[in-house]
């Protein structure tokens, strides 16, 4: 059953009710639209990161749109976007996934002129530069897959063409998570992941496209390999990288690999692992259990990712309008504030500011000392007075991105080598 049929049904039933037919036809158009938007259902899917029930509740309250959310893991998200175009209206995917999914024709380009806050979107997602002086990091930088050349464009455009593939929603700079209480000394470099000191106590994520990047950060930091582009390796570079990690695996460096958010939290919280690839909210989850855990900034920089929402190619008419309305609402600040208070960044930070206290804005965005206890939107205390965010302010974190999550030309080869690593 599609949402279209739901709407038709409700419209018909509305018309059927005694006398309503006359009244409805007599009403001016905007009123009818208002009536209808209450019945609109948008089906959104994405990773657990941003598919939060709070967002659905709030959008129902503000716009009357019903948002049906499905949370999946990264691989399943790609799979659904590419193979089940009729199962969704809004796809909440990562930029590097867009590179894979766009050619399938399941998404439609969005008209930037209909996006109210387009001009305020952070430069990273428009021309690729966070500040005019920024250099663009390696990998699939969001702006390279953020635009297509027209409403039905199939090729990615290298400029702000006005037709967007995804509207950026959240993004962050990822690094290694550590247990400072169990390590007991400063950690400064990605090389520490393979330090024999942590044999049997390290972990890496088993999602090949992201895991290979973390591996590359480590190999480059060790001085073993100089990459042309970590986000688009040659076969030789892939071979060397995997070989180094297979050797480490055979030497018992890793306790486990993780594939889902919960697994990474449990590995860290239970002390099975003291250093591993990790995602920001996982750190928050460990800390909220009262266990010390640090999202350690490293001198080689961060591996970064960005997510955005895209519209199904099947969307049209009233639902398409509702989708634009939803996207504009998304960028208008409430969601941004909600996500930033969990440690992510919003694509339009300045609108989010209004939805955060001065203390929260200072701590999360400006890297200032907390003047009061910082709590997550769910009420868990995350930082005490005087603490500062790991890695500092927005510009020093997002400005130190060494590489973006990406899809390589040699992806298939890389995946096969990855299987070798897992089976080794």
């Amino acid at each position: 059953m599609t949402t279209i049929s739901k709407i038709r049904y409700s419209r018909r039933s509305m018309l059927k009710t005694g006398g309503a037919a006359l009244a409805a036809s007599a009403l001016p158009a905007p009123m009818v639209w208002g009536q209808e938007s209450k019945n609109i259902v948008l089906r959104q899917f994405g990773t657990g990161v941003s598919n939060l029930n709070e967002v659905a509740t709030k959008v129902k309250e503000d716009l009357g749109i019903t948002l049906e959310m499905t949370a999946l893991d990264t691989d399943s998200v790609t799979q659904r976007a590419a193979t089940q175009p009729n199962s969704f209206d809004i796809a909440d995917i990562e930029y590097f996934v867009a590179k894979k999914v766009w050619p399938s024709g399941n998404l439609q380009a969005m008209d930037a002129s209909k996006i109210d806050n387009y001009d305020k979107i952070v430069g990273t997602f428009r021309d690729g530069k966070l500040t005019p002086e920024s250099t663009i990091a390696q990998g699939t930088a969001p702006h390279t897959v953020g635009f297509v050349d027209g409403p039905n464009g199939t090729e990615f455009a290298d400029n702000e063409s006005g037709w967007m593939t995804l509207i950026p929603t959240i993004y962050n700079a990822d690094t290694l998570g550590i247990r400072p209480d169990l390590i007991g000394r400063p950690i400064e470099s990605w090389t520490e992941l393979l330090n024999p000191e942590f044999a049997g106590k390290a972990s890496i994520l088993d999602i090949s496209s992201i895991g290979i990047m973390d591996m590359a950060m480590v190999c480059e930091a060790m001085g073993e390999i100089q990459y042309g582009d970590k986000g688009n390796m040659t076969r030789e570079e892939i071979d060397k990288t995997i070989a180094i990690f297979i050797e480490a695996k055979k030497n018992g460096q890793f306790r486990a690999f993780w594939k889902t958010f919960d697994e990474s939290v449990n590995l860290m919280a239970s002390g099975e692992v003291v250093i591993q690839s990790m995602w920001s909210p996982a750190i928050t989850a460990v800390r909220s259990r009262g266990i010390p855990c640090v999202y350690q900034p490293l001198k080689e920089g961060y591996r970064s990712w960005g997510g955005g929402i895209g519209m199904s190619a099947a969307l049209s008419g009233m639902e398409l309008d509702a989708a634009y309305e939803y996207i504009n609402w998304y960028l208008s600040g409430w969601v941004g504030g909600f996500l930033m208070r969990q440690g992510y960044y919003s694509a339009v930070p300045e609108t989010s500011k209004a939805f955060m206290s001065e203390n929260e804005w200072g701590y999360w965005f400006e890297g200032k000392e907390a003047t009061d206890v910082i709590t997550s939107p769910f009420g868990d205390p995350l930082a005490q007075v005087g603490e500062v965010r790991d890695g500092g302010d927005f510009y020093s974190r997002m400005g130190a991105v060494a590489c973006w999550n990406s899809v390589m030309d040699e992806n298939q080869y890389m995946v096969r080598k990855w299987n070798e690593f897992v089976a080794a």
């Binding site: 799979q79 193979t83 894979k100 999914v101 050619p103 690999f257 590995l267 239970s270 099975e272 089976a423």
Partner: protein
Amino acid sequence: MTKQVTAWLQAAPMAVVLLAFLVAPIIMIVIVSFWGATEYSIYPDFQFDNYAFLFGSPVTYTVFFNTFYYAGITWALTLVIGFTVAYFLAFEVRSLKWQIGLFLLCTIPFWTSNIIRMISWIPFLGRNGLTNSTLISWGIIDEPLEWLLFSDFSVILAFVHLYTLFMVVPIFNSMMRIDRSLIEAARDGGASGWQTLRHVIIPLCKPGIMIGTIFVTTLVMGDFITVRFMSGSQRANVGRLISNDISLLQYPSASATAVVLLVAVLIVIGLLLRLVDIRKEL
């Protein structure tokens, strides 16, 4: 003539169900295994690339070896445990009421989901888990045992835990059908307990053992989630290879692997059925 028609009609519903839900999907998998794939789509084709890669890659052999390794060890352990439990239930417990009661007790863990039963081992076996802290407090070990979790040990432990019942049930069933007078006759003939077991009970339990074996080997060989969770993703069997391919949209390559696995499992079952003619024994 009418008799024949009736027979056909009686067999038809089952045949239709099997055709639609077993044969057709398998044919589909075989067809797709010859297709080609891009990053985001699959296209009809007739190529041997998927198989060529599969047989040319050392990963395939490692992974198939692991699959048989897990299946073999799990089979041996579930057989010994399952046989012992069934023997106890069938011959040591005298009253039918107790037999049924104890048998039901064996099934209680199956009221919870497979995954829950598996995952509950993780806090138990972990570095700071119950086993390690108990052993340390008893002074048996000084350092926590690392190999308890995320190792072949934990994978096989979970398999044995999950699948022993599949061995108990058919063996118990076979044992209950053994005519008690045969055992009395063996004793009267001067056979010792061991001799009775070897020459009377085990041969008569063969069909049960065989059915249990088929259950356990097919379950273990087709598994991917137990291996993933209990090894902390560090070990791979064929199921994991297939699930990795599927998650990366490589359906043709996943299909090819599935076809090879299916053939391997069928060969194993074929060999087992040569050892015991289940139909005759039933």
